[in-house]
Symmetry: C2
Subunit: 207 residues, 2 copies
């Protein structure tokens, strides 16, 4: 609280200050030199770069400004709720409730109009039902795929994830960025061929 600052600006500054904490939320994915885990702030930036660069692969009618704003705030709830590793079912229990509470608190720091707008944009990403959200979700799946591939397996290797599970996880790309789906299939095949990713689990034939 600084005396003499307009309350609206004070709310905006409080949000900007609070968001600094996203730099301390660690993801399972590793940065490419492998030295450490990526944090959610860096990930959000890298995702925004992907959106800028790959916009031509978005479905018709996608609004890049909305997509950028969406990806920039898509992970802010992790400040309270943490990053739940996608392939771990246990830590994902109760995730939605935790994230809703976090959204209320964190977006609630903003002036009411901005709080409402950004929370709705975050919710739109979560629901993934509009073209903008579908494209944003597709990139949110593609970015760690690229890091894991170029990082010779990265978090896949560490957690012994199989190709069939990654393929299911990547499915939103098929609809959200259809032009990138052949790339995904090619990278998964290549990742298995190079030993970065385990092939599909073999189901014991008990028949």
């Amino acid at each position: 609280m600084i005396e003499g600052i307009d309350p609206r600006l004070e709310g905006q500054l409080a949000f900007i200050q609070e968001l600094d904490r996203l730099k301390g939320v660690l993801r399972q994915t590793r940065v490419l030199d492998g030295a450490r885990q990526e944090n959610s702030a860096e990930h959000s930036w890298h995702l925004a770069i992907c959106a800028m660069l790959l916009a031509e692969h978005a479905p018709p009618g996608t609004d890049l400004l909305r997509v950028l704003r969406m990806v920039l705030v898509h992970d802010v709830v992790e400040i309270d709720a943490g990053d739940a590793f996608a392939y771990d079912a246990v830590v994902n229990v109760g995730k939605e409730e935790r994230e809703q509470l976090a959204a209320e608190r964190i977006f609630g720091l903003l002036p009411a109009d901005q709080a409402k707008e950004l929370r709705a944009l975050w919710m739109e990403f979560e629901e993934g039902a509009t073209p903008d959200a579908r494209f944003a979700v597709a990139l949110d799946r593609l970015q760690p795929l690229l890091l894991n591939f170029h990082g010779q397996g990265g978090s896949w290797r560490y957690h012994a994830v199989t190709a069939d599970r990654v393929r299911v996880r990547m499915a939103p790309i098929q609809e959200g960025a259809p032009g990138l789906w052949p790339l995904v299939l090619r990278l998964l095949d290549e990742a298995v061929a190079r030993g970065f990713l385990l092939p599909a689990a073999i189901i014991a034939d008990t028949g």
Copy 2:
């Protein structure tokens, strides 16, 4: 190089992969818990958040989409050229030449049309002559000011920087985001009052 990937997409992916290295370029500014230096990828994300939130303080005619694209790539040349601490004159010698070479190499990874467009956007930021660039530059000054203020002095304290030098450094905010200038003056006064920042150096009276 992955067989069967379209060369245009391959260039886009090479750029996205290369940009991961910005997560390893350290700035003098520290994250708010003080535990470590901020890296340029996180800084770029935080700057984009500032642009989104503070757009109402931009000069008339500012295009937020262009500003966001500009701030997202404004520091990529640091992958080759490093981050030069603003208050260190020595490390800033030759900075422009190093950065031009870096821009040629890094943006050159992209397909020609995107390389040309993004390099021009980066150059526009460097020159700071358009309303979009002036707003982006203003935020690039404001974001470390906020971190240093909320971090009880942060890199100012570490480098014994004085208030008069910070005020000169912040001058682009007066033109690029005039609505935020009173905030800057208020924060500088308060930073001196709280002992986060040294007052102006006293010039010995030799008369």
